[in-house]
């Protein structure tokens, strides 16, 4: 099987999706500029300006237009350059995309995808955030954040084919991550977690880029004979906890690793569900590894103390096992 990057996997999914005439892409700098993270590079030349719509810097308009177009039979993919700018489109997403199906009694659907990306690397406070928890909080949205090239391709395809609005969260530090991806078309269903690594001793519940860091932490601990099991949630809404709970019932210990602030964050919900449904199996308090609760500092040294690192995951696992 070919080994390709996350970026290439996303490109394959989008090229496949573009075979459907109803699909179009709307976003800032997706065409003439050549795409901020290279995902849609060359698309304008191939598909033309009608379907690769370079948009003004107007996030609310971009997402609102995608919603309206979706309602009348198109399959828009709205790209928000980075998740930080999605705040300007929250009203569209929360008050319209998420509500239209239910609020009008199920008579219309909003089959759109909002692609956006988390990430950081000395971009400072306003450009280094994660809003996963806001999206995932909202009934009516489906929220996915895959980790591997295989899932990126399959889940983006599934998201585009889904009749409901889907927020598809990528990560700027993952576009060059490589993995096996079949050339042919396939989908990976939304709302299904997966076991990313088998182990007896402790369960790490995580998603997106943190899956890869957790793998590195597990490699380090394996040298000491510690077996870490890793659960990749893949979808945040709806949240499939079955794989994590099964693992937890075996290991009786868990660490939740998420790249966002801890208070009221995604890790709070994940840990709460482990407690609710796995209380009888609990041998130690569930640990959490997250961003430090500060606006992201620019200084490289401080930034690295703020984000989640392999070392912090290793420490949390050791502590939970001790």
């Amino acid at each position: 099987m070919p080994i390709i990057t996350v970026r290439e996997a996303l490109r394959q999914a989008l090229h496949e999706a573009m075979q459907d005439e109803r699909v179009f892409i709307i976003g800032e700098d997706i065409g003439h500029y050549g795409s901020t993270y290279g995902v849609t590079a060359g698309f304008l030349e191939k598909y033309g300006p009608e379907r690769i719509r370079d948009a003004p810097i107007a996030e609310s308009g971009i997402v609102g237009i995608a919603i309206g177009a979706a309602m009348v039979g198109m399959r828009p993919i709205a790209e928000i350059m980075s998740v930080n700018f999605s705040l300007l489109a929250f009203d569209m997403l929360f008050n319209h995309a998420a509500k239209i199906y239910a609020m009008f009694g199920g008579q219309m659907t909003v089959p759109m995808v909002l692609r956006t990306t988390n990430g950081w690397t000395q971009l400072s406070a306003t450009h280094s955030q994660s809003f996963d928890v806001y999206f995932a909080h909202m009934p009516g949205l489906k929220v996915v954040a895959p980790a591997t090239p295989y899932d990126m391709k399959g889940m983006l395809k599934a998201a585009i084919e889904d009749p409901d609005p889907v927020v598809f969260i990528e990560h700027t530090l993952m576009y060059t991550v490589k993995g096996e991806v079949p050339e042919e078309s396939y989908t990976v269903p939304l709302g299904k977690a997966r076991l990313a690594r088998e182990g007896r001793d402790i369960t790490v519940v995580t998603y997106s880029r943190m899956v890869h860091l957790s793998q590195q932490a597990a490699d380090i601990l394996a040298r000491d004979g510690i077996e870490v099991e890793i659960v990749d949630l893949r979808t945040l809404r709806p949240l499939d906890m079955s794989v994590a709970l099964e693992s937890f019932k075996k290991t009786n210990r868990a660490v939740v690793v998420t790249e966002d602030w801890q208070s009221f964050g995604t890790s709070a919900e994940i840990a709460a569900r482990l407690y609710e449904h796995g209380f009888d199996y609990l041998d130690a308090p569930i640990a959490r590894v997250n961003f430090r609760e500060v606006p992201m500092p620019y200084s490289r040294n401080l930034e690295l103390q703020t984000v989640v690192t392999v070392d912090r995951i290793v420490q949390a696992i050791r502590k939970t096992l001790s």
């Binding site: 009608e50 308009g61 309206g68 009008f104 009694g105």
Partner: protein, 353 residues
């Protein structure tokens, strides 16, 4: 760009010159009257039912503004699309939504146009391309632009008409939408219902430019200010705008000058205007004006119009009975199946469903 500044002091009649349009036979004209009276009576009944606590939540009445919806929507074809704001009863009735389903919606019944899930502010009927009332001021404008983009990409000659208030023209979505629509030459007719107030804030207190149609100039967009209390003037302007949009020339902004006779919502104590203000505007009542025109020009007889009024009274009473007797929406509407077109079951299930 035409414009008519003298919005508060129209003569009692309506413009007879506009009757020359060959498409306007007596039946059509009488039907405009019927629609306007139906909106008025329906809403008077809404107010009554609100007082009796049959209707809850916010109730924003359109009384006084009927000619705007009826005249504008008269310019559309069934394959055209409508988006509107929370003051949506008039647009829904002018679009021909069944008033039984509208009253049932207000009563929160499953026979309502939105199954009782939306209420007064969220009337919709996808089968009539009536894409709904939206309650976040100005936020539905991008949706309308998106629908117009959809029409253009699907090579359809349908247009999209979107209604909003004067208060909605100060927020970012208005400017984003005008820019997108003009930039991409999309078939949208923006209809601003300038009723001189955003809730209780007068036009001159909330907008740096009080001639709203001039806001389109920044985008090079065609715009016009018209008398929104004259159903025929409104229709003419809308026909021009629709023709412009349908022929691929891009969007139009219409500013319809009108006035709401009732409070902003049923809770409004109207401290921001006097009884005399309202009385002065009442002389410009769109229904009285149009009724006078029909009689003066010999298009309808007093008896004919009275028969219509009576028929409407019966129809509204029947709608109340229908709503009263209708069942409530079931529990399934508050499960994941009510929230998603394709709900995904997870384990453990949400709410143990």
């Amino acid at each position: 760009m035409a414009h008519n500044n003298d919005h508060a002091h129209h003569s009692a009649g309506s413009s007879p010159a506009l009757l020359n349009d060959s498409r306007l036979d007596a039946a059509t004209l009488i039907d405009y009257y019927r629609q306007m009276v139906l909106i008025r009576r329906f809403e008077e009944k809404c107010q009554e039912m609100y007082t009796k606590a049959k209707i809850g939540g916010f109730l924003h009445l359109y009384i006084g503004e009927e000619a705007t919806a009826v005249g504008a929507i008269a310019a559309l074809r069934p394959q055209d699309h409508i988006f509107t704001h929370y003051r949506d009863h008039g647009h829904a009735i002018a679009r021909g939504l069944d008033i039984n389903a509208l009253m049932a919606e207000l009563f929160g019944k499953v026979t309502g146009c939105s199954k009782g899930l939306g209420g007064s502010m969220h009337f919709a009927d996808a089968s009539k391309n009536f894409w709904g009332g939206y309650a976040i001021v100005g936020s539905h404008l991008p949706l309308a632009v998106g629908a117009a983009l959809g029409m253009k990409m699907q090579r359809k000659d349908s247009v999209v008409m979107v209604f909003f208030g004067d208060g909605a023209t100060n927020g970012g979505e208005f400017y984003e939408s005008l820019n997108f629509a003009q930039l991409w030459k999309l078939p949208v007719i923006f209809v601003c219902e300038n009723n001189l107030y955003a809730m209780g804030t007068p036009l001159e207190v909330h907008s740096s430019v009080t001639e709203i149609y001039r806001k389109a100039c920044a985008f090079g967009m065609t715009s016009e200010r018209v008398d929104g209390n004259d159903v025929l003037v409104m229709r003419e302007a809308a026909l021009r705008a629709v023709e412009h949009a349908r022929s691929g020339k891009g969007p139009v902004l219409l500013e319809a000058m009108t006035y709401r006779f009732r409070g902003h919502s049923a809770q409004d104590t109207q401290k921001y205007r006097t009884k005399e203000d309202i009385e002065r505007h009442r002389r410009n009542d769109p229904i009285t004006r149009f009724r006078a025109l029909l009689l003066n020009e010999g298009i309808a007889t007093e008896q004919q119009l009275r028969d219509i009024d009576r028929m409407i009274d019966d129809q509204v009473e029947a709608a109340v009975r229908f709503a009263d007797e209708s069942p409530e929406p079931g529990h399934e509407w508050i499960t994941q199946a009510g929230v998603y077109a394709a709900p995904i079951a997870v384990d453990p299930p949400i709410h143990g469903e």
